[in-house]
């Protein structure tokens, strides 16, 4: 009995090891990819952020410790970028999560498959357009003589009013949010639709038998059971918003004022590429990385305490 059980144990460990090896083999490409394109740049940026390094200089960069970080924390320009990033992020991702959820629920109520498919394609199409093309389209819309003013003036019956989509500090921030919202909402709708489809219909049937109306079903069944998807979507939306660059860059190229929409990524570009201060730009990117890490951690923490299972 004893030798038999030992043999059995050895066999069991062997299979586990073999499985683990295969697992590692499958994971290695991802690790290599991550190491090359994420881990290495992060470490490199962290290292570079400790130096006064100019892009074109062939001289060895001067070590300045935390000098770049100290400079940034004292810089009004950097704090303006932090402000612009937070205004954009909270002004975009919160409405995006709420509205994409509302649209997803609306889609789930549409029974005709063809009509539902048509809506899904319509919502998702902007997500496949590149940021550059999207911003170029919206630059035309926001031109003073473009469709933006024409639509708003037609609806509000205010002919000739220039809403200064790009020529006003507040409006240009709103304009970047509109573009981003339009572009990415379809993507998050698809995620919510997928989340909604995982909720068993038997729960709704039971609730209906028990006398629950659609409103009660939504708040008592859909929302709690959709929580993992809401957390996923809100984290993804927030991280995307924190990394926003293309729209702001193209709007500035199109003549919009830089300061109101000078998000951290745009400031990194200006500092590193235009002004050639790669050390300072690296410090900014590390700060942005830390901000993203903190927000993700906070969202995970706040969502974990109320997990629901069925």
């Amino acid at each position: 009995m004893k030798p038999n059980s030992l043999t059995h144990k050895r066999k069991y460990i062997g299979i586990e090891r073999i499985q683990a090896r295969w697992g590692i083999a499958f994971v290695i490409p991802a690790i290599l990819f991550f190491s090359l394109f994420s881990f290495y740049p992060i470490l490199n940026a962290l290292y570079t952020s400790l130096f006064d390094k100019r892009v074109l200089s062939l001289l060895p960069p001067t070590f300045m410790g935390l000098g770049n970080y100290i400079y940034l924390f004292k810089s009004a320009d950097f704090w303006n970028s932090v402000r612009a990033t937070f205004v954009f992020t909270f002004g975009t991702f919160m409405p995006m999560v709420v509205v994409s959820l509302a649209f997803a629920v609306f889609l789930s109520l549409v029974k005709n498959k063809k009509v539902r498919g048509m809506f899904q394609i319509a919502y998702y199409t902007p997500a496949v357009i590149s940021s550059v093309v999207a911003a170029a389209i919206w630059l035309l819309i926001f031109d003073p003589r473009g469709l933006g003013n024409q639509w708003v003036n037609f609806i509000l019956n205010t002919p000739g009013v220039d809403n200064k989509w790009l020529a006003d500090a507040t409006m240009v921030q709103l304009s970047t949010m509109i573009v981003y919202f339009w572009k990415y909402i379809g993507y998050f709708i698809i995620l919510f639709v997928t989340g909604l489809s995982t909720i068993p219909s038997s729960i709704y049937e039971a609730a209906t038998i028990d006398g629950a109306n659609p409103w009660q079903s939504f708040w008592r069944i859909t929302m709690p059971l959709l929580k993992p998807t809401v957390v996923l979507v809100s984290i993804m939306a927030m991280l995307q918003c924190l990394k926003t660059f293309g729209t702001q860059y193209l709007f500035v190229q199109g003549g919009a004022p830089r300061a109101p929409i000078n998000v951290i990524t745009l400031n990194i570009y200006t500092t590193g590429i235009r002004n050639q201060r790669i050390g300072r730009a690296s410090a900014m990117s590390i700060i942005l990385f830390i901000i993203m890490l903190i927000f993700t951690w906070v969202q995970f923490r706040t969502s974990k305490s109320e997990e629901v299972e069925y």
Binding site: R145, D162, K164
Partner: protein, 430 residues
């Protein structure tokens, strides 16, 4: 297994460093990577020169790549940062100077391009033209073009507003406001036709001279103070505030660039600031408008009571050669550049680009270009654009100040205070 993963990760981290190694020695046939900005008229003649040069030098192949001028600035810099810059490139001098200052471009060996010495090369060009690319007695670039801007006028637009373009054209910036108010057509607040509008990204070329007319300076003569003469800067910023949508609403950076609209002659714009090359572009894009002669060129205006008569600064695009290319490649690159630039008259007549050699400026070809005398006189009133290690950053700061008064409701006083602090900090860091 763990060890092998660690080894793999270390190798993965090392791979980019291996790829980022510098210049490679080249033997045998030479391939020249030549990056330049888009200009269809120039592409046509330069591709012809490439074929001729390759036929005469069978061991040399030239790969010419074009990009939008703003994109090229980033591409060249990123390539140089990775030690993989092109063999030949050109940018505007305010963007190019950093390449000289950082030792990234190779000096010309005059003998390689057929000159006895540096002095002979210098003597070929108008006085001072090679100053921006000369350091420690060595020349690091040859001008593809030297450009100054005057004011192009659409006579049809003037006539439609009851003005005589020959007499009523703006001589001062105050005139520019008055005339623009007459030429402008609005639908409510929206400008359907602008009288004139500025070229907004080019703050060092066309805006700084306006400040200089009022006695202001970007950098003091001793090089220690940035943003000199508050009164001049304030007057300039107030002028721009009044020009913008929150002031007299005569123009804005958010409208389509005036220079591009000018050629179309579709009643969008009355006047635009641009260079001699615009003539070639009008001819190519709208020959009917070109032939109609319903356009003219007048000098760059000055402020009333200006303390200095300064025209728009002239700027140069200089062809440069990568210092990390090997010597044979560098020599081949300079030979090819010299070959292209030996066709100065064709660049002028086909592309309207001025390569300011003494011979060209004295030639009948130059004198026969319409309005060339206006550009020549403005050359004499102007100076080379500000260039230095941080010229691009200074331009960004002036841009922020102008945008803040025009578009963000910031007062000129506050914009000036911000500009002064930032510019001084930048100067002190140099």
């Amino acid at each position: 297994m763990k060890k092998s993963i660690i080894v793999l990760m270390i190798l993965a981290l090392m791979v980019p460093a291996l790829f980022a190694q510098g210049a490679q020695e080249q033997q045998g046939p030479i391939t020249l990577k030549f990056w330049t900005h888009e200009d269809p008229n120039r592409t046509r003649i330069e591709e012809k020169y490439i074929l001729e040069f390759e036929a005469a030098n069978p061991n040399i192949t030239i790969e010419r790549t074009t990009q939008a001028s703003t994109k090229l600035i980033e591409l060249v810099q990123t390539a140089f940062a990775a030690n993989a810059g092109p063999d030949i490139f050109n940018l505007s001098i305010e963007d190019e100077f950093a390449y000289i200052a950082n030792g990234r471009v190779a000096p010309i060996d005059p003998k390689v391009i057929g000159y006895a010495n540096t002095k002979a090369l210098l003597d070929t060009y108008m006085d001072g033209i090679l100053d921006p690319v000369t350091m420690d007695g060595k020349i690091y670039g040859l001008p593809l073009e030297l450009t100054n801007w005057c004011i192009f006028i659409n006579k049809n637009v003037f006539k439609s507003a009851g003005l005589d373009p020959e007499k009523d054209y703006p001589k001062t910036w105050e005139d520019m406001v008055k005339i623009s108010q007459k030429l402008v057509i609005r639908q409510g607040d929206i400008l359907v036709r602008r009288g004139f509008d500025f070229r907004y990204p080019y703050y060092l070329v066309a805006f700084l001279p306006m400040v200089e007319q009022l006695g202001g300076q970007l950098i003091s003569d001793d090089g220690k103070t940035a943003i000199v003469n508050d009164a001049a800067w304030l007057k300039f910023l107030t002028y721009m505030q009044q020009w913008g949508p929150s002031g007299l609403n005569l123009g804005s950076p958010t409208y389509k660039n005036a220079r591009s609209l000018f050629n179309k002659n579709n009643n969008d714009i009355g006047m635009a600031t641009t260079g001699l090359y615009q003539i070639g572009r009008i001819k190519a894009e709208n020959p009917t408008f070109y032939d109609s002669k319903e356009w003219m060129v007048v000098p760059f205006p000055v402020f009333e009571g200006a303390v200095k008569d300064v025209a728009a600064s002239f700027y140069g695009h200089y062809y440069m050669v990568n210092a990390q290319s090997n010597k044979a490649t560098q020599d081949a690159a300079w030979k090819f550049i010299a070959f292209m630039l030996s066709h100065a008259e064709e660049y002028l007549t086909e592309v309207s680009l001025i390569q300011p050699t003494k011979a060209l400026m004295a030639s009948a070809a130059y004198k026969n270009v319409p309005y060339s005398e206006v550009f020549t006189k403005d050359f004499e009133r102007g100076h080379i654009v500000y260039y230095g290690k941080s010229s691009s950053e200074f331009q960004t700061l002036i841009r922020s100040a102008v945008e803040s008064v025009m578009l963000s409701g910031v007062t000129p006083e506050k914009a000036l205070a911000t500009l002064k602090t930032a510019a001084q900090e930048l100067l002190d860091e140099q």
